[in-house]
């Protein structure tokens, strides 16, 4: 991937605590898996930045290389790739996601 795309991605995941690379938008998701993860975050009332990879193919391909992960959606928490739909769903079910995101939600409430 080009340096500029890599920088773009790095900027996004470093500046925003929770970033979801998805197909479509949270309001109009274009894929069931992306819809699922956006839905989970919304139900947890965790603010997140959504990046619609369908708008830019360079980002769509770049993010797969960046995470060494072949699919979309991809969730980043504090700059770290946390998982795709399966992993996020599992973490949500066993409470791990709440543990991970509660501090971020609290921070955003205090701000």
């Amino acid at each position: 991937m080009s340096d500029s795309i890599k920088q773009q991605i790095e900027q996004l995941v470093k500046v925003h605590d929770v970033v979801l690379f998805m197909k479509g938008t949270p309001e109009f998701p274009q894929c069931g898996f992306s819809q699922r993860v956006a839905g989970i975050l919304n139900s947890m009332q965790v603010p997140f930045t959504a990046v619609n990879v369908l708008l830019d193919n360079a980002v769509r391909e770049g993010i797969k290389e960046y995470a060494n992960w072949p699919t979309i959606p991809q969730l980043y928490v504090k700059g770290e790739f946390t998982g795709g739909c399966d992993i996020i769903s599992e973490m949500h079910e066993d409470g791990e996601l709440e543990t991970l995101l509660a501090p971020i939600r609290m921070q955003s409430e205090d701000a």
């Binding site: 992960w69 399966d86 992993i87």
Partner: protein, 88 residues
């Protein structure tokens, strides 16, 4: 090289993963259409590894299939211990 290659079948995918990940038990099913798969892999090789790393091991095994033939893959990765606990 044929232009309209057949989608991979469940057995093929299971075998590929079995060979790549030591001591693994693999179950593969189609959950939708011909290119949405679900796979359950149980292996001691997953011990001590987080979910992302485990999934990456499976994706690595599937290589090119992930880039082309497989549109979606629902993955469950477990150690024998974790699988045992679930079955009780």
């Amino acid at each position: 090289m044929n232009e309209t290659s057949l989608p991979p079948d469940c057995d093929t995918l299971a075998e590929i993963v079995r060979r790549a990940i030591s001591g693994s038990e693999v179950e593969v099913g189609l959950f939708s259409g011909h290119d949405h798969f679900e796979m359950r892999v149980v292996s001691t090789a997953f011990a001590g590894k987080n979910r992302v790393t485990r999934h990456q091991m499976v994706y690595q095994a599937l290589g090119d299939y992930m880039r082309t033939e497989i549109h979606a893959l629902a993955l469950k990765t477990l150690t024998p211990e974790e699988a045992g606990v679930n079955d009780e």
